[in-house]
Every structure is written in C-alpha cells, then in structure tokens.
C-alpha cells in the first residue's frame, strides 16, 4: 500500500481498537492494546508528514469522489498536528498506566477505549477535509472527553464534566449552525470546494453570520477568554492522565480548525473585512493578562496550570491575530511547544498526586528532598513555559515577538513580556515551596516515582530542550504550514 492509502489509518487504527479495548478484561490487556494502537497511529503520522509537506495527500472515503464524498486532505499544517497528537499519546500512555491504576482501579477496558476514542476524534478533526466531518469528530472527541473527565476521583469531577458538556455542546451547536449557513449559501461541505465558492457569496449576511457562529463555536472549544470558564474545573478534576492528554492536545486541535476555516475556507481578505484581527488581538491580550494573574493565587497546582493554559491560548490568539506568515508560524509553533511544556508540567504534578494524593500548593513544601527528579523536571518545564533561552518556550515567544515587531505592534510585545514575568511568579510559587520550605514534620516518608512515570516525563523535558535548540522540525514546518494557510509560497 502507498503512503496515501496508509494515511487514514492513523485515525482508523485507534478508532477501531476502541470497541475491542472496551471488551478486554483486567488492566494489562486494555492498556497494551491502546499502546499498540497509538504507536501504529504515530508511526503512520510520522511517515505521512514528509510526504504531505511536499504535496497535499487526498484520500476519498468509499471511493466517492470529493466534493460529494468525504475526503481526508492532509498538508503541512495538519500532518504536523497529527504527528503531535499521536506522539503525545505514545508518550503519555506509559506514564498513564500507574496513575490510572490508582485513580481508575476498575473497568479500565472502557477507560482506555474512551481514551482511544478521544484521540482518534482529535486526529479525525485534524485530518479531514470536510467541514461537516469535523463536527462529527468534534463530537466523538468531546463526548469521550466528558466521560473521561467524569472518571475523576472526587464528585466535583461530575460537576466539572457536566459544565464542560454544556459549554462544549453549545460550541458544537454554534459550529454546526455556521456550517449549515455555509451549506445553504454554497451547497457544499468540502473545505477545498467551499474555499472556491465562498468568495462568490461572501458579501451576504448568511456567510457573515456563518463566520460569526463558527468563530464563537470554536472559541468555546478553544477556551478563548472569556469563553474559558469550563477549562479550569475540567483540568483540575479529571484523572491526571486525562488532564495531561487533553491539556497537551484538545485545545490545540481547536486552534487548528479555527485557522483552517478562517484562512483556507473564508480567506484572509474576508477575515480582514470582519473584525477578526481586533477580536482576537483584544481577547488574546486580556486572556494572557487575566489568566496569568488568576493563575497566581490558585489553591492547587493543577488549577494553576489550567489557568496558565488559558493564558497560553491567549498567546496563540495574539499570534494568529497578526495575520502574517510569521504570526501564524509563531502560533503553530506555540501549539507544538506548549503541548511539550504543559504535558511535562501536568505529568510532574500528576507524579506528585500519585505519591502524595494532593496537589495543593502548600503541600509541595519540601518535596524537592523526597522527589528530587520530579521537582527538577517541574522547574525545567516551568522555565520552558516562562520562555528562558535554550528551551522550546523561548522559540515560540521569540517567534511571536519578532512577528509583532515586524508590524510595529509594541503592545503585543509588552504583553508577551509581562505574561512571561507573571509565569515566573506562578511557577516560582511551587518551586519556592518545593525547594525552600521545610517539609511538614507529620508527613509520612514518600519516595520518588518509578521509571514508568519518570521516563516519559524526562522524555518531554528532553524534547523541551531539543526543540529549544534545533528548530528545523518545528519552526520550519510551522512556517511552511503558515505559508499554506496564507496562500503564499509554493
């Protein structure tokens, strides 16, 4: 089979493995099947990326020719993201094993089935070239994510999951209304076909309303300030393994689909006619400042990192509001780098929860003595989040600042710098507790976590530094993707 014929299997393998996984008994078998499925998916994605950068791959399902049938359309932008999602799943699953054994002791078959469904849903959103198919995969990934969050140990997880369900359903409905309006106006759902037909009807109220509905709908999924209210509760109460996975992937996919629809389907000129720049610029800036300040006084580490995630979405919104190749590339590269750093941070906090059973900030006191490697990893990933040179976080912030300077946008530069300083404060709170404060005397002795958790965590830390030094995969692919989105270049 050719690489084109293998390509859809990066979605199909986890999707088909999910119902099998649900039937498997015990703990070892469901985990092993899930692991095999995500490895296969990541291997296919890794092979697809170089092929798709050269020329877009188009795969028609059921041999129904597009625009009538559903097709997968893979170019530099989404092949890059598909590799990120599947590779993160490969790194997270070994880490998840111990943590899931503790937090979800029973019925692990359905749990890993939901994990595979969530992952294949995200992969599907990324690879598909059909606007309605996006909605279907959005629902697959969202519904399984709600169920995964509800697996959290405390009953607050049910409330958080329900809140996310309401907001997520609202978002999906808005998206669907937008797609419906576009379908009425153009008579097609295929994105490439839409891109050709939208300009003819772009001066109608229906298409403008469609743009509004789609941006607000995806904004909810994206947790763009002020639509972020569901996110902190969902991240804080989900099982640690689920938090790591959704923090690293779910909102990123929403950014991608926003970029794809705004730039490929509606087109740059239409977006500039609409208040796209102003809205994303303003919300991005307020989001960065508001969420970073909120992160400082959160009671638990998970909640703090969740607010930090809202702030990072703000950076991405700011980057894509610049509407230039450099800006979009900065946004895309931050999607990748943020997955690395937030994945590592949530893994470190998850390891603390695994040993300590709590993640309140004051409970980190003196932890650097008993869990030195976990806390060192936390601090290193924190440095990447702050944007210290030689880390991945520096690359994305540097790219963003350069893109802003190129447009003489000094407000954006100032906000990025202030945001980084605020990150120093909230990461510093945990580091200060872990390294400088003495451990409470009544705490039972705790040990460092084992290699199942340590190896994936340090793999991500190593990646944070690798992609801080060698940017050929990240920044170059992101720039290529940004050129595709802006419709310039080859």
């Amino acid at each position: 089979m050719t690489i084109l014929e293998w390509m859809p299997f990066s979605v199909l393998v986890p999707l088909i493995a999910a119902p099998l996984c649900a039937l498997l008994p015990g703990r070892v078998m469901p985990w092993s099947l899930a692991m095999l499925a995500v490895i296969a998916s990541a291997a296919i994605s890794a092979l697809v990326l170089p092929a798709a950068v050269d020329e877009p791959l188009r795969y028609a399902f059921g041999n129904w020719p597009p625009p009538f049938g559903i097709e997968y359309y893979v170019d530099a932008v989404n092949a890059f993201l598909a590799l990120l999602i599947s590779a993160m799943a490969v790194v997270i699953l070994p880490w998840a094993r111990k943590s899931v054994n503790q937090e979800v002791p029973e019925r692990q078959g359905p749990f890993y089935a939901l994990f595979l469904l969530a992952m294949s849903g995200l992969m599907g959103i990324t690879l598909t070239g059909d606007a309605f198919n996006v909605f279907v995969f959005l629902e697959i990934s969202s519904l399984s994510t709600y169920a995964l969050i509800a697996h959290g140990q405390r009953r607050a997880a049910l409330l958080a999951s329900f809140r996310y369900l309401i907001m997520g359903t609202l978002g999906a409905t808005f998206y669907l209304i937008g797609i419906g309006l576009l379908y009425i106006a153009t008579g097609t759902l295929n994105m490439a076909d839409l891109a050709e037909r939208v300009p003819e009807v772009s001066d109608t109220r229906a298409v403008r309303a469609a743009f509004g509905f789609i941006v607000v709908g995806i904004g909810l999924k994206l947790a763009l300030f002020p639509l972020h209210r569901w996110l902190p509760g969902a991240y804080a109460n989900a099982p640690s393994a689920v938090t790591v996975f959704i923090a690293a992937t779910a909102t990123k996919v929403a950014v991608y689909i926003l970029l794809r629809l705004v730039f490929t389907v509606f087109g740059v000129e239409f977006a500039l006619d609409m208040p796209y720049r102003e809205v994303f610029f303003t919300l991005g800036i307020i989001g960065i400042l508001f969420a970073s300040i909120s992160a400082i006084d959160q009671p638990t580490a998970k909640r703090m990192l969740a607010y930090s995630s809202v702030a990072q979405i703000g950076y991405i919104a700011l980057a894509i509001s610049l509407v230039s190749v450099e800006g979009l590339a900065a946004g895309l590269v931050h999607i990748f780098n943020h997955a690395l750093m937030k994945g590592a941070l949530f893994m470190a906090v998850g390891a603390v929860i695994y040993r300590l059973g709590t993640n309140r900030v004051e409970d980190f006191a003196g932890l650097a003595k008993s869990m030195p490697w976990t806390m060192l990893a936390f601090v290193l990933a924190g440095l990447s989040l702050i944007g210290v040179p030689l880390t991945a976080g520096f690359i994305s912030k540097w790219a963003l600042i350069q893109a802003a300077i190129a447009q003489d946008n000094w407000v954006a530069v100032a906000v990025v710098l202030v945001g980084s300083l605020l990150a120093v404060i909230y990461i510093g709170r945990i580091a200060e507790a872990a390294y400088l404060r003495p451990a409470p005397e009544n705490r039972a002795p705790i040990r460092e976590v084992g290699p199942w958790m340590m190896v994936p965590l340090w793999l991500l830390i190593a990646a944070n530094f690798w992609f801080g030094i060698d940017t050929s995969l990240t920044l170059d692919t992101a720039t290529r993707g940004a050129e595709v989105l802006m419709g310039v270049g080859p």
């Binding site: 014929e5 859809p8 199909l12 999707l15 088909i16 119902p19 099998l20 649900a22 039937l23 795969y59 028609a60 399902f61 059921g62 041999n63 405390r154 009953r155 607050a156 049910l158 409330l159 902190p232 509760g233 109460n237």
Partner: protein, 150 residues
C-alpha cells in the same frame, strides 16, 4: 404494571409489531427513509416497553447487561470490518465496489451490512442507557455534595 390487564395485553400486542417495524426500517433502509439508527432506537423501544410492563429483572433475563455491552462493541466492529474489507480487496476504506462483481449489488450489500452494525450498536446502547437509569432508583436519597465550587 403487570397487574393492569389493559396495559399488559396492549403491550403484548404492540411489542412484536414494534420489533417487526424496526426490522422493516432496518432492512428497507436502502430503498426508503430509515436505516440502522432509527431501527435500533425502535427495537430498543420495544424492549423498554417490555421492561416497563414486566420489570427490569425480566428484561435483563431476555438480554443480560454484559450481552448489551458486547453487542454495542460488536456492532461498531462489524461496521469497521466491512470498511476494512474494502481496503483488503484493493479499494478505499468503506469502498463497497470491490465486495461483489455487480456494482449495484455490491453497494447494496455493503450498505445493508454496515447499517446492520449501526442498528445493533444503537439498539444495545439505548438499552444500556435505559438500564443504567432504571437501576439508579436506590441512590437518589443520597445528598449531592460537590467538594469544590468555583
């Protein structure tokens, strides 16, 4: 509600008819409106009517919960397998043309099999959801104490 003669007799009369109609919608879906989803829901509705009259115990004696769970996965696997068959015979995923020589018969066979998978999954999932809610009656007395609000 087993004691109420009218309910029992009407239900006994209706349950087979609902099931028969569900099967009609299932297997006539390639020519007329309908298909696996609608048929599955109707089929499950017949079972739910049975449970309403005869109780959950009797309903689960007809089809145990574990069987519903396995069937719900089996239905989607049937769908996936038919899709994969297209790939193995040299076509695309969910490509039905390679299944048989006659293109029309191939499309028909493919869609009927795929929709049968959908029907099985939908029927068993609807029954599962109903079972889970029907079971919960005992827990309602417990107060709801979310530990954390924001």
């Amino acid at each position: 509600m087993r004691e109420n003669g009218i309910l029992r007799i009407i239900a006994r009369f209706l349950i087979p008819l609902i099931m028969l109609f569900a099967l009609y919608v299932q297997f006539h879906g390639d020519y007329s409106p309908g298909g696996g989803f609608q048929a599955g829901v109707m089929f499950a509705a017949a079972w739910i009517l049975f449970v309403l009259i005869y109780g959950l115990e009797a309903g689960l004696a007809v089809i145990p919960e574990r069987a519903m769970f396995v069937l719900s996965a089996a239905g989607s696997l049937l769908y996936a397998l038919i899709g994969l068959l297209g790939v193995m015979l040299g076509g695309r995923f969910l490509d039905f043309y390679p299944l048989l020589d006659d293109p029309q018969a191939a499309q028909q066979a493919g869609i009927i099999l795929v929709e049968f998978g959908v029907g099985v999954t939908v029927a068993s999932v609807v029954m599962l959801i109903f079972t889970m809610f029907a079971r919960r009656r005992g827990d309602l007395g417990q107060a709801w104490h979310p530990e954390e609000h924001d």
